[in-house]
Assembly symmetry: C2
Homo-oligomer: 381 residues x 2
């Protein structure tokens, strides 16, 4: 399917080309995810298949003219070119999974619509990010470990009224020598693609994607969280009882670390499965640097369980920023009519996923980490 | 009920007296919990009601002769009296909840017996612990922040074959300036009671109780975890599919941080409830310093939810070591026959509790953090 051509005066006219296999949730702004069977094909997601979650048009940035503005500890503004950043600070590579808070919202919408993007299981991807440590830049700007507050980020993406994308993280995460927060200019060994924040983005490992601000233009530190809509009036978790009439955004903390998550990428619900050997595949991840220690898979809706085989790169304790891929080889007996495949992951703090979506449903449709279920009809042998 | 009198030669003959209201799981070793309605009566659990989880007889320790043996970074052994500890290191007070890995095992046993202590919901309590920071003692012994390995603890409690209780924690947790690991000699402002480790115990906030070694006699640091039975062959989490025939203890990490937990302390299942106003009460806690941000309560088995009111002392971000108590005032309509009360908590990483016990059941009967459910028959008005 060809996307429609941009019209004159379309703020999205400068958006970059994308891979045609992506499943598009909205075209403007561009929100798309890889097909399920592609998600776990590679431990590092190739950039064209990495999910795209844009809130606004993709800005067109001239890298030579680009400057990162950093408010220093004395209130002055440092202006750093890409060259300054690359020459003044050591380069670090961090393999980190990024997950949108809305990953798997479609399952929430199926219960009760949130009128928000119906992400499938693909709003999560993993890359090797290359750049400088936010911590090094903040130390250069005069901030000290132990300082309190929040680091606020602003992107170059803006709407026609001038609203820019913004978000913040606790200064403690930014200054933690084991926090690994990057200002990234590379993705999988190549220049950052435009859809992923060219020329510079934040990558906050273990934290909801919304804080990994793309097309980064400004960093400031203050006593309060970012005043951005996306920090204050979105990306928060509420009880299923909260409605748009009763919601009080000041009552819930902004999502930072995310809970343990997993999903089945193969077989897909419309796969044709016959009795015999079946391979079930998927991904699992947890926030806050917690490692995935086990994935349990059931073929009978959760009555009996088997452990999947995990693969993934070695990660440091408390710094397990990247997902595990998993698979289970099972044998489907002749005569089987249906499989009710379920997966759930366990992280290094022994957190488990909730069994069902209903009791975690919320008006924003975020944080769906219920067991993932794929029901399949089994054909004749 | 009077406990039986100790016989001559009974290794438990020197065990201290206990409060008669405690619900005893085993007398020798002594394992007991407070009655459900007492659990949430106080934010700081009075020591007589604090759950007791002993693995061995309670040692009788002469505080004047007591020495703490610390293996220093050069391999020598430091010998510290209580007076040395109190005079050489600054005193710290830490309010921390301690939870046994087996808390709520009775619900697992009800599905399929584990043949282990059938703890109700009371193997969790909170105290203000006073003592010195393990970190300060380790720095005094020559260890550096950034060193790797495990801190091994040994207690003075031993069985007749000479086996002593032991456990370990990552050195990283011990050396973390925000880890708040204590060597405690006070509990709620008084001398540590004998059942809780007199004269000195470890308190590892945010971590399973099994690592908070009581009657501490020896600290050593090495590249490996404690070789103790309780570190290597117990206090680990397995999938429900693992049996005693298939278990491989080397495959699961030892439990350290615990997952989010909550329970209903009132009404109890045998309470007489009539239509009208009902107050539901309970506790909620999470491991790893994660704060409890919300408790959802349902009176209809999980179909609809309301938010409970939380109470608890202010805690620092990432250092929320103590529980929250909660309550919900509800109105029970005339004609109601039954209430199916359910609670679930959410922590600051937005971790949720699993809905049901079966899929997290395990041969050791540990880590039961499924929704807590209390079914009640409602009487006439
Ligand atoms: Mo997102
Ligand atoms: Mo325990």
């Amino acid at each position: 399917e060809e996307p429609p051509q941009p019209s004159v005066g379309d703020p999205y006219a400068e958006d970059p080309p994308r891979h045609p296999a992506l499943k598009i949730n909205t075209l403007k702004p561009f929100n798309a995810e890889p097909p399920s069977e592609v998600i776990a094909e590679n431990y590092l997601t190739p950039s064209p298949f990495f999910f795209k979650r844009n809130h606004l048009p993709v800005p067109l940035v001239d890298p030579a003219a680009y400057r990162l503005h950093v408010q220093d500890a004395c209130g002055r503004t440092l202006s750093l070119s890409l060259r300054d950043l690359k020459r003044s600070f050591r380069k670090h590579d961090v393999v980190a999974t990024v997950q949108c808070a809305g990953n798997r919202r479609a399952e929430m919408n199926a219960l009760q619509s949130t009128n928000r993007l119906g992400w499938g299981i693909g709003a999560i991807s993993t890359a090797c990010w290359g750049g400088v440590l936010l911590r090094d830049v903040l130390v250069h700007a005069g901030y000290q470990p132990g300082d309190e507050g929040h680091v606020c980020f602003e992107g170059l993406d803006r709407d026609q009224s001038g609203t820019v994308y913004g978000a913040s993280i606790p200064l403690k995460k930014a200054m933690n020598p084991e926090g690994d927060v990057l200002l990234a200019y590379e993705m999988n060994g190549e220049e950052l693609p435009r859809d992923h924040g060219f020329p510079l983005r934040v990558v906050v490992p273990g934290t909801v994607g919304a804080r990994s601000v793309k097309w980064l233009t400004r960093i400031s530190v203050g006593p309060e969280e970012s005043k951005s809509h996306w920090q204050r009036k979105d990306y928060k978790g509420f009880s299923p009882a909260v409605t748009w009439d009763t919601v009080d955004f000041s009552k819930a903390p902004s999502i930072q670390e995310m809970p343990v998550q997993s999903a089945i990428t193969e077989p897909s619900p419309d796969a044709s499965v016959t009795p015999g050997e079946l391979t079930v595949k998927g991904y699992a991840w947890s926030g806050g640097g917690r490692n995935v220690i086990r994935v349990d898979v059931s073929l009978d809706g959760g009555k009996s369980w088997r452990e999947a085989e995990l693969t993934g790169e070695e990660q440091l304790p408390g710094r397990a920023w990247a997902w595990k891929l998993w698979q289970l080889k099972a044998s489907v007996p002749t005569g089987t009519k249906q499989l009710n495949i379920v997966c759930k992951a366990v992280d290094s703090s022994y957190n488990e996923q909730p069994d069902t979506v209903g009791p975690i449903w919320n008006i924003l449709g975020v944080l769906n980490n219920a067991w993932h279920r794929v029901r399949i009809s089994v054909g004749e042998d």
